[in-house]
Symmetry: D2
Subunit: 478 residues, 4 copies
């Protein structure tokens, strides 16, 4: 297993990354992407920390490896994976680390679908996937996943777009591999991963055959161009005094462009079997949305804790309306926790005995989180007070002339110094009233599937027969 | 164990029950209360039914007895109890049976508190409670619980009321027992129970000493007067064609008046130890609110099933807004189920090793149910259509002249006869657009604790330390 | 203008009305429909009451006539009409009277569309409508409107149904008139009206030509069969002590069957001009939905008043959560009032100079009312307490034995007798926890257009250009 | 009247402003505050623009002056004032200008209360206020208002704080004036105003006598120290390509410190008459909250327009769930508009004939806006898509290498270029997914009164008698 330093070292290669119009020579030393890389290193640090080793590392007949790469074969495996994700995200200051979380979700999804593909076509996808899995696990790699195509006209399918490259597609099939072209949006952690797994984004029809493609490539592959998002450039370049979270914790997304990228057959996991595009997309989501609800737990805990802390510091903890809002926040957070855990406890084996968390409860949990996030933020902002957006910057607190005045006039309830209240406000501001804060809002609504996607999957996962039979019986219908 | 007939026979005694101003000579033959008694008999019928015997009956070294009377010593005991409650309520057409459910909650609460009382006072409450428990279990009795006092001015405590009898109190202590006076409101199933357990309704102070009283008496005790509610007299006297649920299923409440009722010491479980009034009230609620979320499950399933059935019969199942409402209903119902089950899985032992469901999740579940019930009803009414309140009565469907026209013009989507759609509408009407329907609305808000009581207990059950420490650490506060 | 007695007398004719399978010989003497007829008479009583005459009666060069029949030509006309509807509904104990309200909405809609029809076809519809209008106004008639067809499969249009009579249609065109067949659902006040106006329910295509029909007939027309709803038979037959509203106030709906009904040409207002079916349906809704938001005002006021009264009687008016719920109720009610009045103030002239309330605000108001009604009911139930469904019947309060106990134990806060609190509870029960209460819930969702219909019309009435241009300009888009 | 340049010139004086620890020599040339000053100049530009002159300028016997300074004496005055505020805010890219809006609200409040003060004390406050009003109006000044004290322990009043300076107070009364000390929070536009009006923040008791103080001073007054907020430093220093709103529009808040500031008696408007502290605070709010709902209109319009624009560009305008969200947004925005206008139409004269908007509807409108803002933002974020937070920066779109790729892969529905969609996304990002976006969220909850303040005032403004009497009459209570 690798250390954090080995991980960071591994990122110094020929990868093509652009940030604000400039090619980035070394992502680990970049003022913004470097923060993201060091944040991602948490997944390596935890495995190296004796306090967390039991949780973070699995030891079995294959040797020691990261628990993220453990194929879940029991409910308890899923609970432990969830606990590790929760720990890593809490260590990451409420921001998911993701560097192993998402890749392992894609790998189990590929395993499940490859076995079905091979059964139908007599292909050898399962072996390829397994070899790639051994490669990732054995070398303790950081893996990104590109799924969402850039899509163009959302009302049209891949083949119906005016520009054929708005979904990633196979443009050439060669004896040694395929050549792919197109672009994916919102690829997380790709700037600081070792490998990139590409998955289809939706169900496809026969016309979309060349769009039904899945594969893996190293990030530093010729023709693979990562256009890093400029979003929230400020946080990572700020003082930790002013931005306690976002100055240290960052996740990068890229628009990921494939300019005739060659992929050898050994790394191709789907190539035209369009009827499996939907199942593969779905299998990934079945695992990844459980990962998602797990890593949202520290975020919602931070909302609850922030509201309770500020209510106390401001001297309003006993006000009826504050109590009401705290109850809403606790209920919001713990409903997410309860449903997440229950989904793991209700997991069931699928292809190859891989345990899949109950999709009904995972999707209810995810929808609950996503739908209620903004209201929870409003409650935290409400309790914290308007000072969230009218307070000092780091320099104000460093210069005696201004610091003394701020520290005096930001005093809270009796016994609470302005200094402490300013620290608390800085944290809460970064959490819910900053560019990082709105990033979390948009992620709530869009990441790991939209609100509508969650509703759809929730509905499909619900077995309506018992309720219908119950009602028909009571109504006297045959 | 008793049969349903034995149970019904046992109700024919000297009990004092009034219904609409008249003394009821035999509750089992009364046109309304008789329906309630036969509904309650379900708890006996299930135990007698070979399909359900394993769930409904426990067999251990003490012999065979109703599972309701099993003291929960594991999470699995709670899950099975919950499953039995769910089964009984489903058999009861969405209406809880309660005749053993509530009494057993009170008994375990009394056991827990009696052990603490004896530890403090060297009293023998534990023995008394146990003997009464053996009596109920051994004779397979139906037991009601009177907790909520009539209360008068809600902003004042028991001793501060202008009329001293607005909370039940001890008016005399004799060598052989106590004499109690006052009245309790909303006592469910008392008209058709064998025994009545009385519990205090709230925490009390020294001034309320004589109001800190708990005991049990047979229903047919002199001075115990049951004023039966006149609410929904119509349902039980209607045709099952018109009211498929409420014509067969009924729960009675009484205003329960104690006119100098004598209680022998053997049946007294609290008598002045006012500091235990709150803990006893709370212990009951800890168990009973879990019972409550368990018996709400068939009700919410019926809402989901009704909406799905009517969407299908009306030919609107594919409309976007209908799909949206079905998703809301599924999410509402299954969040309740998930949190209820998770609360049982998270149960922990308390006094005497009795397992208590996790009060945080129980109260979140109960609040979720109660807060969302009316919106769920709105969604069902919305999908079912205005015909809920403009349709025929039972006679209209019996007379050919009107029946033929109704059956023709109530046809639904292709393939759905008017006859079937009328049956479905009758059921859904009874469920959500009838006096029975509003009864369920009011129960949702008030029964087993109000919305505010649930929020309060939810908040108190929440361990805020982890969230606060997490936030303080991230904010850089000591 | 007619007196209430003249109105009631006019209902004693050959009309064919069935109630619970039996033909009703005289609707005014029927134990249920008679209540509805006397309730409807309010519209006549008000005109006869010197306190309200100025509001209820218009006097112009055509003489004196009911304000309901005044064609709105200014915003003030609409405000006065709204005020009269509000007054009549408040007099009706929160239940709309409707006997002139709905017919006059249909008449102005017919006037508007007839002028367009004549312009296109050179027909004489406008004259026919005007003559019928003069007939209604001059004779001060009570007029019902049948619009919603029974519809069968809601996903199919009129002509596509398996049974051709699921929408009302022309089956024969004769020299002297047309013959119509089919059935309409949910026709309000038809049992106790003089005339029935029939309108199409939706936009239609060429295939639906014979379904594009509008006309008026006297209620006592051969072949016109009214199947009266059996819903809430109990209220009108109850004691006013137990049901202060529904024992006195009732609205009847019918399934209205046309068995080859002949309509002379003079009474035909649309006969095959299918492209006007949609506009006519819409024009009616433009007026009638404003009528609807006007008559919902006393209902929402009663919710606010009930909650405030019960909060006071129970001694909880100062509790934080009660205050919060009262605020929600006030905000709910007054948002409806504000939007309703603003819609009238923003009205604008359309065909023939007829003023139409601003459909955007009318539909926002209606949707606001309909979407929030159940939550408002929940708040009232919450504050009123569980006694809503566990209290006495009328007989309990008449017999001294039970009355004395109830009156003692239902005492409220200091100074509030049980007698008064019982009266208040009876009223609130009838309003929000009775069959009448659920009737109002279902009406909220379905009457005068469903939630979805309101959203659709709201969206269509919104002029998106200013907001789009504003945003495009700020975004730098041409 | 002054030009924008004259206004900017007037800001170059001896004012003491700190920004990020540094004293600012010239606010108009500061990279951040300068943006705020130029934004504020809009109020001067509009008056100078012939298109808007009729709205922005009043001409009466006193000559020409800004409409902001017109004392409202009719409903129409209020409607015009509201329209001007709406226009200025729209011109300001959804951000209120405030530089005359807030000061004029304070001035009319002072006029109203001064007349009452003089009536009670025979003082000459009214004359002082009027002279200061003439000064502001005659010189066309920019005026800030400091109301909210820094407050310390929110559960304690001014005099009960451990530090006596946590509310602004009189520390010395001299023959020529008073000396004040303390600090106010959240003072908007003070960095770029000419005058500062100080108002008390709450009702006060006798112990708080020296905290009951109101006065006005020029910004460049010795001892007056403005600590400018560091919030959103990024926006004003960014490219307009990346931040179309916040690069050009900015409002500054300060923590406003009074270090023994001398105020001559002519500028003192309250000095110890503690029973008028509450009425003055309230009077200001009565006017300012109407100003607030007026300037929120362009913001909510921008939310609606953004959602509609993005739905169109993304090709999802016809999706059912998108339609539903657009309806919610339209309803949200237009309910605010309807209630705001209705509040003006329902205004009534108070002291000195000054028209006050109906506080019931103003507060319902404000609460509606504030409570629903986050949900509205969620809907916009939902429709706009995840690209809000994963897209390019300004440099990416300037460099051909990256620009070409972004422009290709950000194409929208057929006919929509990536270039246009990128522009739209930049705007929507700035509006709802940026530090400026969260600024608006926090303002929604806190500015011009918190959610709780609005609920309290709404409740107090409601005349409950009609609803209570209606209900009591129906219930048969005397």
């Amino acid at each position: 297993m690798r250390t954090a330093d080995q991980y960071l070292e591994s990122l110094r290669d020929e990868r093509t990354v652009y940030y604000r119009g400039e090619r980035v020579p070394d992502v680990t030393r970049h003022p913004v992407i470097g923060v993201a890389a060091r944040h991602a290193a948490i997944d390596y640090e935890l495995a190296d920390d004796s306090r967390y080793r039991d949780l973070a590392v699995v030891s079995d007949r294959d040797g020691e490896y990261s628990r993220y790469y453990q194929i879940p074969k029991t409910s308890d495996d899923l609970l432990k994976r969830s606990a590790l994700i929760e720990l890593a995200t809490a260590t990451g200051g409420t921001l998911v680390v993701l560097i192993k979380e998402i890749g392992s979700d894609a790998l189990v999804a590929l395993m499940r679908v490859a076995s079905a593909l091979d059964a139908k076509y007599g292909s050898s996808y399962a072996r390829r996937v397994d070899e790639f899995y051994q490669h990732c696990r054995g070398n303790d790699l950081a893996v990104a996943v590109a799924q969402t195509d850039v899509k163009g006209d959302r009302s049209l399918g891949p083949a119906a777009q005016s520009d054929p490259d708005l979904y990633v597609r196979i443009v050439e099939r060669r004896s040694d591999g395929i050549v792919v072209r197109g672009a994916k949006a919102h690829t997380s952690v790709s700037t600081n991963a070792n490998e990139l797994i590409v998955l289809p984004t939706r169900a496809m029809g026969e016309a979309d055959r060349e769009y039904a493609v899945s594969f893996a490539v190293p990030i530093a592959t010729p023709g693979l161009i990562l256009l890093a998002s400029a979003y929230d450039s400020t946080g990572p370049q700020s003082s930790v005094v002013e931005r306690p979270i976002s100055a240290r914790h960052k996740m990068m997304e890229t628009t990921t462009v494939f300019e005739d990228v060659f992929v050898p057959w050994e790394r191709v996991f789907l190539a035209g079997e369009y009827e499996f595009a939907g199942p593969l997309a779905l299998a990934f989501v079945e695992h990844h949305r459980f990962t998602a609800v797990s890593y949202k737990l520290p975020l919602v805990d931070a909302l609850v804790g922030s509201a309770m802390l500020m209510a106390d510091l401001n001297g309003i903890a006993r006000a009826g309306h504050v109590r009401e809002k705290l109850v809403q926040l606790v209920s919001y957070a713990e409903t997410l926790r309860g449903l997440t855990r229950y989904a793991a406890l209700r997991s069931a084996p699928r292809e190859l005995g891989i345990f899949v968390p109950d999709p009904l409860y995972v999707n209810i949990a995810k929808y609950h989180f996503a739908h209620g996030y903004h209201e929870a933020v409003r409650n935290v902002q409400d309790i914290a007070g308007g000072s969230l957006v009218t307070g000092p910057g780091a320099e104000d607190l460093a210069v005696p002339e201004t610091a003394a005045r701020y520290e005096r006039f930001y005093a809270g309830r009796t016994g609470v110094s302005g200094k402490d209240r300013l620290k608390a406000l800085s944290f809460v501001r970064d959490l819910v009233a900053s560019e990082f804060g709105t990033y979390q809002e948009v992620l709530a609504v869009h990441a790991e599937g939209s609100l509508e996607a969650e509703k759809l999957m929730l509905f499909r996962s619900y077995d309506a027969r018992p309720a219908l039979e119950f009602v028909r019986r009571l109504a006297g219908l045959a």
